[in-house]
């Protein structure tokens, strides 16, 4: 009897273990998630490849209900937590594809999606171009910056695989994110330095030193003179004090070279190395996660923050509420190297989002996806994604959209942003609404609270005394990728920012320059000179971006 029991239990255990192993190998993702849903709608799997984005906690939202009613589509969202570039490479390498991909229109993320489109992993959109006017408009040649049009939109033998979104429809729609250094007002008062008097790099250093020497403490912990957000974003934006800010700079002979090879880049590196060495910058800045970075801001432990202003306003909201007078205000405007002092701020305002239908989506899925995307790119879809449901969250009054007060108060009181998401606003739909028409069509952001608008306006007055200049020229960074040497050169180019970070933590100035020079040599070995020659030849006679500020 015991033997029978023992055998029975053994067989059961083995079956469970084998079954468990095999079930781990089954595919529970991919095609299984999309298709005809039980309620007759068509379910589309959509990847919103923006790090830190997220959706509703309560299932289908009121905004998505309207989308379902208008297009017959329901959405199964996936959000990225981590590097967007890694996510792009991962989905195409594993072929675990969504039906619709949407993500950043720059950097490695864009390179990855272009590579996929060239290899036909992204499906051709405009088989039915006549039926989808809103999509056609958003990628018309006149609506896309020229180099980006050549690189990403019109790069597949006349076929169109990618949509560009959020490019300003009119000048008034262009978003200036007001990147810069911002100091806590109470700390600037304590050290007795007027932030607007800080204009030169020497004055900036003196300001940081004065904060350090004041030995400020919060909850028994030291206050860092300079800090940033996760992985050091965007502590390094002081580069414009050492060169013109563009990745490629004018050599003076009608050609350009990468700023990594300039004297200004060396000075920039050594300046930051001095900040690290003298304890003027948070040494954990490049190793910290977003929660740790925000915890430091919430504890009041960062005196000067480098980032765009909306991120700073959001991150410091809690601390400022409990410590009135501790608002972050702009430093400078800081001097810009190699640039006339009265020059407007050169900003690369363009679309920030690309969208593709992948090869995972076939037949009825393509029709559903195109219908959905076209609706979202319409004015109605734009207003729905940005403002919510008309008649519930907002109404038209005298031809202008006006927020419903009840919802305005709820959204303003909610610091987590969850209430908005649960209604279907800021869940990723705003990324796929075609060109940005927030002012020209939608009458300005109805959910922005007046205090925030005032702070932005005040910062704009300080940081943009000469206004802004929207860059429409060719970016050499888009052209060099077409050079025959690019495949060999790219890994070395990708190392530049890592090498810079290593250099600013080097033991000495010589060691720091050694790291930079070592990579310069490797760049040359892997075809930099030839690739630059190709780039310069292709840019001859064209307007080229050599001056730029972060945006």
């Amino acid at each position: 009897m015991n033997r029978i029991w023992s055998k029975g239990v053994s067989v059961l255990l083995v079956s469970i273990l084998v079954g468990g192993s095999l079930s781990g190998c089954t595919d529970s993702s991919g095609n299984g998630n999309s298709g005809e849903a039980a309620d007759g709608s068509y379910k589309l799997k959509i990847l919103h490849n923006w790090n830190g984005s997220g959706g509703s906690d309560n299932g289908i939202t009121p905004v998505e209900e309207v989308i379902k009613e208008k297009t017959g589509v329901t959405l199964d969202w996936e959000y990225t937590k981590g590097s967007e570039t890694e996510k792009v490479n991962q989905i195409f390498a594993t072929q675990d594809l969504p039906d619709i991909y949407t993500g950043p229109a720059w950097g490695g993320e864009l390179d990855g999606i272009i590579k996929a489109a060239k290899e036909r992993a992204a499906r051709r959109y405009f088989r039915q171009i006549g039926d989808y006017p809103n999509l056609a408009k958003s990628i018309a040649e006149e609506n896309v910056p020229p180099a980006l049009y050549e690189k990403a939109i019109n790069a597949y033998d006349g076929k169109k695989y990618l949509l560009l979104q959020n490019q300003p429809a009119q000048n008034e729609d262009g978003m200036d994110w007001l990147y810069g250094f911002y100091v806590r007002k109470d700390i600037a008062d304590k050290v007795g330095i007027d932030p607007q008097s800080v204009v030169t790099k020497e004055a900036f250093y003196t300001f940081l030193k004065a904060i350090k020497d004041a030995n400020l403490q919060e909850n028994g912990q030291p206050v860092f003179p300079l800090g940033g957000f996760s992985n050091g974003w965007s502590v390094g934006i002081g580069n414009t004090m050492f060169n013109s800010g563009g990745s490629y700079v004018d050599k003076g002979d009608g050609t350009v070279e990468h700023n990594f090879f300039t004297k200004g880049y060396e000075e920039y590196t050594l300046f930051y190395r001095k900040l690290v060495e003298e304890g003027l910058m948070d040494p954990e800045a490049f190793a910290q996660t977003d929660p740790i970075a925000k915890e430091k801001i919430n504890q009041g432990r960062i005196a000067i923050l480098a980032a765009h202003y909306p991120a700073i306003l959001d991150a410091s909201k809690e601390y400022v509420t409990s410590h009135p007078g501790s608002d972050y205000i702009p430093v400078g405007p800081l001097e810009r190297a190699d640039v006339e002092p009265n020059r407007p701020a050169d900003l690369g305002i363009q679309g920030n989002n690309v969208t593709a239908i992948t090869k995972n989506c076939k037949g009825a899925c393509v029709d559903a996806a195109l219908k959905f995307l076209d609706y979202m790119a319409s004015d109605e879809g734009f207003m729905l994604a940005r403002y919510g449901v008309q008649g519930v969250h907002w109404d038209m009054k005298e031809g202008k959209p006006v927020a419903n007060k009840e919802w305005f108060d709820k959204f303003t009181a909610d610091q987590s942003g969850k209430v908005r998401k649960n209604e279907g606003i800021t869940i990723g739909l705003e990324s796929i609404t075609g060109p940005d028409r927030i002012n020209s069509v939608a009458g300005g952001d109805i959910w922005a609270d007046q205090k925030r608008l005032d702070a932005m306006e005040q910062a704009r007055k300080i940081l943009r005394p000469n206004g802004i200049h929207v860059i429409t020229a060719y970016n050499p960074g888009d052209v060099i990728t077409k050079a025959p040497e690019w495949e060999m050169l790219k890994p070395s180019m990708d190392r530049m920012s890592d090498a810079w970070k290593e250099a600013i933590f080097a033991k000495s100035d010589e060691a720091a320059l050694g790291i930079i020079n070592e990579l310069r040599e490797q760049l040359r070995k892997t075809g930099y000179d030839q690739a630059m020659q190709f780039t310069n030849e292709n840019l001859k006679g064209k307007d080229v971006v050599t001056v730029q500020m972060p945006n």
């Binding site: 023992s6 055998k7 053994s10 067989v11 255990l13 083995v14 273990l17 084998v18 468990g20 192993s21 095999l22 190998c25 590097s83 570039t85 890694e86 792009v88 490479n89 991962q90 195409f92 390498a93 072929q95 490695g108 390179d111 990855g112 590579k115 996929a116 290899e119 036909r120 992993a121 028994g220 912990q221 030291p222 040494p283 954990e284 490049f286 190793a287 996660t289 740790i292 432990r301 060999m488 790219k490 890994p491 070395s492 990708d494 890592d498 970070k501 290593e502 600013i504 933590f505 033991k507 070592e518 990579l519 040599e521 490797q522 070995k525």
Partner: protein, 304 residues
Amino acid sequence: MIKNSVLMKRIWKHKLFYLFMLPGIIWFFLFSYVPLYGIQVAFRDYTFVGGFTGSPWAGFKYFQQFFNYYQSGDIIRNTVIISLMKLLIGFPMPIILAILLNEIRMIRFKKTVQTLSYLPYFVSWIVVVTLMQRLLTPYGGPVNDLLGSFGTDPIQFLNNPTWFYQIIVGSDIWKNIGWNSIIFMAAIAGIDQQQYEAAKIDGAGRFQQIWHVTLPGIRNVAIILFILAVGNLMSAGYEQLLLLNGPATAGMGSVLDVHAINSGIREGRLSYAAAVGLFQSVIGLILVLTVNRIARKVSDVSLF
């Protein structure tokens, strides 16, 4: 033929034990042998559409790229240094722990220590590193607070070349010591108790019993595990180094595993990453074969 039938009879006789091996065999087959066909990616220009078998052949292009890369020498050197330190310092630690645990006579205390030492193995590196960041930060971390109470200045433990190796090797030992000691505990439990009694009669004390009975009793297991550990010499542990290596320590902490992951996932160079991974594995295999041969000559103990 006769040999085979004897083997089959023995297998049938112990069928239940063989049945219990089945999940392990399936696991190894699925996750260690089936993926071997992916090795070909290292010799192809991998494309998303062509996949493993449809992408064009590239020969040794990606191996050449790796050896021409200006940091490949540093990366290999860092990998070997960190692995060697982990091997030389980390390998004896579970043996010491197993022997110490074996000497404890209070069963409840022994079990508590055992359980506590196993726990870190089950905690992911991301949690361990977050804990370390909290514990070791010079800005309010308990370790620096404690040191401060003795008058020591705050120490930047993480992202600091001075403390890099200590942190890497120390955290690796802390995480794995308990789990790795299990096999030695089992080996010690298999030693004939009569040997201890004979040693006692001959007047051997506790330390002499460890030296003359326990250590020789686990020698074979230790040699086998050492041979296997040498096979990992080109693999320094990617999760730990991906998370603990910062810009200040990049010169010491850039290792093959992280280079492969970054090239493949961050830069999308999948064939290159596969070539780096294959290089690691081939060197590992050569090392295992070499050490196995040496071990067989020196001690008659070997894997095969």
